[in-house]
Symmetry: C2
Subunit: 224 residues, 2 copies
């Protein structure tokens, strides 16, 4: 993506995720253009994309607003993620190559190292975690599945949330990854699917326990 357009997208997105733009607030193109330091054209691009991410909604009369995610919406997103990432894990297990297997193991090894610092390296954990999941998605080899999941997984991690995770939660996540790796080693698609679905849903409940009643924006990224 080109410079101004990308910049508008990232800027608006982070303003939404950080709460700087409040949920339900209107997004006027001109005002955003000014805040991003670009013209309306790339802002319009960005809004279109944010809309397909479901971070922005449009009225029937084409006004854009910051989407406010209810608890139900969050549950909804996690439920779909569990289904689709589960399916991705199944396909990945069935198509697993040695090279992909090694990359997945390596990602989980990085996670392990990040966790076992004196003070857990959450940022390192999240990097490894992202790689772990995206390697699996890659191995699943379905463009459409990737496309669908990309709308459910908000990529830029909201660090302030991530840093609340306990070492226990990180360790549990790591060990679930290990079990996934075992399923991959055996090329057992059904097993991999079951573990992955559970992995995502556990992340959901950890999230909902922690955030019950709070602002619900930075949701679709748990420790998974």
């Amino acid at each position: 993506m080109s410079r101004a357009s990308h910049r508008a997208y990232e800027t608006i997105r982070s303003m939404i995720l950080s709460g700087e733009l409040p949920a339900g607030g209107q997004l006027a193109e001109e005002a955003l253009a000014e805040r991003c330091g670009v013209s309306r054209t790339p802002v319009r691009d960005a809004l279109r994309r944010l809309e397909s991410d479901l971070l922005v909604t449009r009225t029937d009369t084409q006004r854009s607003f910051v989407a406010d995610w209810s608890l139900d919406d969050v549950a909804d997103a996690f439920e779909l993620r569990a289904i689709l990432e589960g399916r991705a894990a199944r396909r990945a297990a069935e198509r697993m190559t040695e090279a992909a297997f090694e990359r997945i193991r390596a990602a989980n090894l990085r996670i392990s190292e990040a966790i076992h610092q004196p003070e857990p390296d959450v940022s390192g954990f999240l990097d490894g975690n992202r790689d772990f999941h995206s390697e699996i998605l890659e191995t699943a080899g379905s463009r459409r599945l990737s496309a669908l999941l990309s709308t459910l997984i908000e990529q830029p991690v909201v660090w302030r949330t991530a840093h609340h995770y306990s070492r226990d939660a990180l360790l549990r996540s790591h060990s679930e990854h290990e079990e996934l790796i075992a399923a991959f080693a055996r090329r057992d698609g059904a097993w991999a699917e079951a573990i992955m679905a559970g992995h995502i849903l556990r992340a959901y409940h950890a999230y909902s326990d922690a955030h019950r009643g709070l602002a619900q924006l930075d949701s679709s990224r748990g420790v998974n």
Copy 2:
């Protein structure tokens, strides 16, 4: 959507689906603008949306091309549809209201009437079919599920394909709908999910049997 933008979208889309724009061919914004009788601005909008529909792909250098769907891609799309529409049917069964139930039954009644003409009214069948499925999706009450499915179901039906369906295929589809209605009547989510998944996958195989080895574009719409 506004006039020019909508026009560009519909025009380009139908040119792709009809094969007027060959799979793999480049889509230059200016040329499309001229053919649609609008400026580049709405064309760019349309291309963005078609890209998210996976009807158009972009290179890393931002050139747009007509996506060519391999047989695997088609199988992929149907597999995901089966999963997601199955889930929608389950949720719909669990949330079914009398009013929604009646609308769904009415849609299938219209299908029945369309089929039982001396010469089957395929267009009427497809209208009813669309209503039937969209009522279920509506009743499922998940914005995200709707958003995901909309990228898998190409709305504008390719009539030339539809007209090849045999009366038998139409009748079978109708009777599967009846079974779904029975599941809804009993609020049996698991049953509804199973029937719906089978319904979609049968449509896939009908499609793939009919089109094996032919051009694969107008795919994601079977008799379902």
